[in-house]
Amino acid sequence: MKKWLTGIILFMLVFSLAACGQTEDKANGEKEGNKQSKSEEVFKIGAIPDQNAAFLQSGMEAVAKQLSEETGMKVEFVPSVDYSALVTGFQRGEIHLAWFGGLTSVQARNLVPDSESIVQRPRDAEFKSVFITQEGSGINTLADLKGKSFTFGSESSTSGHLMPRYFLNEEGIDPNTDFNGKPNFSGSHDTTYKLIESGSFQAGALNISVWEAAVKEGKVDTSKVKVFYTTPDYYDYNWTINSNVEEVFGGDAKQKVKDSLLSMPGNSKEIADLFQTDKFIETKNDNYEKIEKVAKELEIIK
């Protein structure tokens, strides 16, 4: 009786599976045609997850809505867990337009040769990072960081890793050996200041725009955390459009998207809040040559 019963269990397991497989195959044949054209109609946008996930979601959905209204396309925001996941999606042509950091836009354009950085904020042409520490830590200059514990943001971040590392190198500090232990990668700018505030790390570097917003909105306690160094200017964030857009959405799609982006934030509070800006301007690939050079020097890209 026992063997008979177990036999049934096993066969049920296997056959219920096989049944699923068959129905899938049938569905395959019938739906392939219309599914393909349907999925091609959706214009997918993405953003590097460098901030609080819920905040990013509401801002990017407002962008999707406005883009959709102004271009007539169906637009959808696709969230991603880390920077490289977004770059991979862009490479695969699944993301048509992405809000990249300087480094990720360079990585993406290397992987998709004819893609183009088209729009940025005025502040992205003169972007900066801030180095922060706890009040009373005794850290006042970059040189004081030797022997202290330190956290970057995401390893793929321009303002949270690449440029801070570059300016540390200029100061003669090798982040791999000169800190107290190896540097940490927090994953996002918001996490970085929280880790400094909670005292988990003695110092860190992050995006100036996220920092200013956090101060303005009272998300960070400025009696505990202070800025001790602000970097020189560099080019950072931009909207990068994929090379497959004109082919999939028609010849004028790229221009329409660009025009719509340049008209933002319009009267959308969500967009203005997320991007911390009141207007967008044009940009071009050449603006990011310096970032590419630095990334190559630091052997982050080949």
Binding site: K3, S80, N184, L195, S200
Partner: protein
Amino acid sequence: MMKLISSLKLHKRFILTLLLLAVFLWSLTSIHWNRELFHAGGIPTMLQIFEGLIQPNLAPSILLAGLESAWITLAYAVAGMSLAIVYAFIVGVLASGTLTTSKFSRFISKVFFRGILGFTRSIHELIWAWLFVAAVGLSPYAAILALAIPYGGILGRIFADMLNDVPVEPIIALKAAGSSRLQTLVYGFLPLVWADFISYTMYRFECAIRSSAIMSFVGLGGLGFQIQLALSDLKYDAVWTFVFFLIALVILVDGWSHLVRKGLTDHKRKSVFASGWMSVLFATLLIMGSWMYITYGENARLYELFSEKNMEYAKKFFGGLLGINQENPAFLDGESWANALKLTLETLEMSIMAIGFSTIVAFITVIPAARNIANGNLTLKKRWYNWPLFAFIRLLYIFSRSVPELVWAMMIIFIFKPGILPGALALALHNFGILGKLWAEVVEDMDPRPIRNLAASGASKIEILFYGILPIVLPRFLTYILYRWEVIMRTTIVVGFVGAGGLGMDFKLAMSYFNYTQITLLLLCYMILVLIADFASETTRKAVK
């Protein structure tokens, strides 16, 4: 003569234990032990995390999110396991050689298919997931296949072993009656191994739940995703809520699997029949529900994986791994090798430290955790605190093993500085619960008579432990230590992802920088480590026997 051999054996074990101890001590020397290991804010952060543990966030929105993610985690695990069973069944039969006729072809099929099974299970499921996402994009199938492949590898090997171990008499009888190869398989082999196969599958199912939870690391939903989000916003109270959901899920599955296994192994109980049918029904519903959810709820179709576009990207990705069209691929570069080998050594030290720590904690706690000691049967002594202590330690074990290593690592990294120590601690935290549970079962199964004799002649607790229990259970304890060490070795790369040092950390960086040949190099080193661990563990286990 017999005496000589047995005393030699005893010495062999003793020498081996010393050797293992020495290796553990060596691994400890790789760390500079001082207060500096915590970073400045380590202790306050630990208190904050602990505060969240006592007061988890029970807001309705969090609970709802927890419930939904728990379902996703379960659905992926069920779907992955059902594919794993199919894979294990087919390749397992081929690897057992029961279908082949000539000796030569049997040998070839055994070596070839066992090789496939061995390869697929040697790589950790999260690495598979990462490779799948890079090759076919973000689809639930990336997670499902990533689960199915290594689990299918493990199940398939066990299945093949079981088929090879069936008694020959019934098979000879069937053959003599003129049945074909296939008929012998269906009527001879399968009925003999079904019960064991299902009970082992159910046991693995519990592990699959935990693996499924950490799959979200590659960007797929589930409990791990929620834990990761909550941790990145430093909301420790919400982190613990989701961890509790995971623990509850693991306990439920564990309970069910226990029920099924008991039903299958217990011959006499009458209720087996009813509960067996309930399980069949439940399993069928669960499998159908999971596939329906993935197919319609998440709108993912298996065939989409094999679209021309995906093939193109997969080709590109694997081409990148092989370094096609690349000058100076990392795996041909001496300096890269030197660096990777250094990390490999670090990873090895991390794994040894991890198994050492979990052995120590399990050793301290195992005696009160055994049922036959708690109820006083073994030592003939009853103390009021026996049962509360038993319950406390068993709860601790469940807590420890229900939380995946990766989640432990993500929290520990806030307390210690990045490096191999937090990685080792995370691995140890997860594994001491498993080791403790397995050991406690060994103690429960041992012959009670020698111990009762010792106890009756007035031996103290410590004396009973060292002269009564340990000599009997030590070989099996050692076997389990070595077995867990193999598993830890596979997992070291995963805890590295979150900054806990070793090969994993560089693997993550190489992934972020799209440095594909470096990934190949690190994977090579990882495979070498896994092979060494398997070999070392197997030879040592044989020596213990």
